[in-house]
């Protein structure tokens, strides 16, 4: 398989997983998609970085997903059989509402994809040495992540949105900056956001220490 085809597959993975994170109303699907998304990020970052350094993104991303997944799994409401849909709790999920919300989210996501594809070729002139797959993937993740942030004010969705935006930024930034310290700090920021997301998910149920 040629490298170009691998990068195209990575782009497709990123496109699908970011849309699934945005559209899905089930936190399990979102967290698994996040883990898959970082596979695409790893492939596209490895265009500019050595694979050993690019693997830091993969590991940090998977750990972030694991932290958020564990936090959701440990939430008391879930243990009592309450589903968390788009950050809201329903004892009995209203089916028509789910379909219409998912369709609306999908439509806005498609609009972002179209906008990203249309502007990506212009951006290529601004950042020397960056590949078109990296630009499309980076902007796509930033766009869908911002949509995710705009659509919800629940802790899990905000954490997922921020991680998605950062993943997009990391693909773009990898093309211009190769540094072990930056890789380490960005991994720290990713893990920090996941840890803070986990804290915010569970903090209402924690005992006040004051």
């Amino acid at each position: 398989m040629e490298l170009g085809q691998i990068y195209l597959i990575a782009l497709i993975i990123i496109g699908i997983t970011s849309m699934v994170i945005f559209i899905s109303l089930d936190w399990r699907v979102s967290v698994i998609s996040l883990a898959l998304l970082y596979v695409g990020v790893f492939i596209l970052v490895s265009i500019s970085w050595p694979q050993q350094m690019a693997a830091v993104k993969l590991v940090a991303g998977w750990m972030s997903g694991a932290i958020l997944g564990l936090a959701m799994a440990g939430k008391p409401g879930l243990r009592q059989g309450v589903n968390i849909l788009a950050g809201r709790s329903y004892k009995n999920p209203p089916q028509p509402r789910i379909i219409s919300e998912s369709f609306f989210r999908f439509s806005t996501g498609v609009m972002v994809i179209l906008a990203v594809v249309s502007i990506s070729f212009n951006i290529q002139d601004w950042v020397p040495g960056i590949g078109i797959y990296q630009i499309i993937a980076g902007l796509l993740l930033i766009g869908v992540g911002l949509l995710q942030l705009g659509f919800s004010s629940q802790s899990l969705n905000v954490a997922l949105g921020l991680l998605t935006v950062l993943a997009g930024f990391e693909i773009l930034y990898a093309a211009v900056e190769i540094s072990a310290l930056v890789a380490g700090l960005l991994a720290g920021v990713n893990l920090g956001i996941a840890l803070i997301g986990a804290y915010l998910i569970n903090s209402p149920d924690l005992r006040a220490s004051s």
Binding site: Y173, L181, G184, G192, L200, A208, S209, S210
Partner: protein, 479 residues
């Protein structure tokens, strides 16, 4: 031994140990206050890069620590900034005893201070925003306390701060390119736009200011006041380092104009909205927005005049003291309104005008001290904030009638907000007469803070020249 180990690594490690030992409240408080004071004192007395002899012992504190091929540098010129940060932290740690805040306040606040210092000492400086983001992440547990709901303000704060740092990282890369080819006007434009956006997100510049009042309403008053104080200082110092390093950025007319326009907008928007607020915590947030607006004007004047830059640092002492007194008064009022359970943020509405009607009859000292802090930040004559505000407006050259009108309207808005607060606090009938329900220690601490604000207002020459020393960290400012 080197300086970054003393002022970044050691406080960072101590913060981790104190976090683990947070149940031992007195020990954690004592160590935190003592360490912050010592680090501030060391910054003043220890010479960096020179041999120090203590009896038989002789050693030198070098200025550089290498981490993963990059450097953290704290030179002799930075010591005034370090002292400012750690004395500020010690001040906030000192109030913890009366602030009824969480046990993790001192460990987390110490870690935030160390990370912020790391942010403006890393070389190349473009990695600084990543460390700001880490400091923001550490501050979240202070703003969303365990056992309480997560407010939208916390999520917005986290979102805006996280969206801000990528802009600064990218602008850092562009700035490096501009150093190589200074004539590239497109690259200069791109870097300027990215820088402006990055700082707008981080500093809460209009229209990205909404998290400031939202947090003021929902977070613990003392914790948010600490974040209000420490974070903007560190980010502004980082921005000043940028101006200091890049002559084209410092001498650009556009930079000067943007700072003035944004500063005036923040004063006008913050001030006018304050006039219509009905929550004491939100008012504290809007008052900070107005103060940041004035600091931007001071910096814009400082680009051409080093003394005006000193005015920016001159604002910090009155701001810190006023925020401290204001937040402590809010804690006292909120805990008494809720019912003395000691956790003021359980009911954010406890600081709404509806809840505090006639509160001055029950808590006269806390109410009076809150008003002194309020009018100090508002810049009322003879209060601590007045002299510096007056000097900033005096140094604000070339202002037109529109700018002056907007600033005037903003300041009037803040005053109206203060007058409304007084009216609400003393409203209602006094059936049981005036009573004092504050504890003796609360009265002593609040009174000390308020008297200090009055003394700073009456004798500004005692403190403004001291704050001017901090400007020595910036070599290239001025004509």
């Amino acid at each position: 031994m080197n300086a970054p180990i003393v002022w970044i690594i050691i406080p960072g490690l101590v913060a981790i140990v104190l976090f683990i030992l947070q149940d031992r409240v007195k020990f954690v408080n004592s160590v935190g206050i003592l360490l912050a004071l010592l680090l501030g004192l060391f910054a003043i007395v220890l010479p960096i890069g020179q041999t120090i002899t203590l009896g038989m012992l002789s050693f030198e504190i070098s200025d550089t620590l290498v981490v993963l091929g990059r450097r953290f540098v704290i030179s002799q010129g930075d010591t005034a900034l370090i002292a400012l940060m750690y004395f500020g932290a010690a001040f906030w740690f000192g109030g913890v005893i009366f602030a009824k805040t969480t046990r993790s306040f001192i460990p987390l606040a110490l870690a935030i201070s160390a990370t912020l210092i790391a942010a403006f000492s890393v070389v190349p400086f473009l990695y600084g925003p990543l460390l700001f983001e880490l400091a923001v992440l550490v501050s979240i547990p202070l703003l969303a306390l365990p056992g309480m709901g997560v407010s939208k303000g916390v999520l917005r704060y986290l979102t805006y701060q996280t969206l801000g740092f990528p802009f600064l990282l990218f602008s850092g890369w562009l700035l490096t390119g501009i150093e190589v080819s200074p004539g590239n006007s497109l690259q200069i434009l791109q870097a300027s736009v990215l820088l402006a956006l990055g700082f707008a997100f981080l500093l809460g510049v209009f229209p990205f200011h909404t998290w400031i009042p939202m947090l003021g309403e929902s977070a613990h008053p003392y914790n948010i006041a600490f974040v209000y104080y420490q974070l903007p200082i560190a980010i502004t110092i980082y921005a000043l380092n940028l101006f200091d390093q890049y002559v084209w950025l410092r001498s650009s007319v556009t930079t000067h104009s943007i700072l003035i326009i944004v500063g005036i907008t923040m004063i006008f928007v913050g001030g006018t909205i304050t006039a219509f607020q009905r929550h004491l915590g939100r008012m504290m947030g809007y008052a900070l927005i107005v103060d940041i607006g004035f600091s931007l004007i001071a910096i814009s004047s400082g680009l051409v005049n080093n003394e005006s830059l000193g005015l920016f640092f001159g604002m910090l002492l009155p701001r810190g003291l006023a925020l401290g007194v204001w937040s402590l008064a809010l804690v006292v009022i909120s805990s008494k309104v809720v019912g003395g359970n000691g956790i003021p943020t359980i009911v954010p509405s406890s600081l709404s005008f509806r809840s505090i009607q006639g509160i001055a009859h029950r808590l006269p000292v806390a109410s009076f001290c809150l008003l002194i802090a309020y009018f100090s930040i508002a810049g009322l004559p003879l209060m601590a904030g007045f002299s510096v505000r007056h000097a900033i407006l005096d140094a604000f050259q070339g202002s037109n009638i529109l700018s002056q009108t907007l600033i005037f309207l903003g300041m009037i808005g803040v005053f109206i907000g203060g007058m409304r607060t007084i009216a609400v606090m003393i409203s209602g009938t006094v059936d049981s007469g005036w009573q004092r329900n504050e504890t003796a220690w609360e009265v002593v601490f609040l009174s000390l803070g308020s008297v200090s604000l009055l003394i700073l207002g009456l004798f500004p020459k005692w403190f403004i020249p001291v704050m001017f020393y901090v400007t020595e960290s910036f070599d290239h400012f001025g004509p």
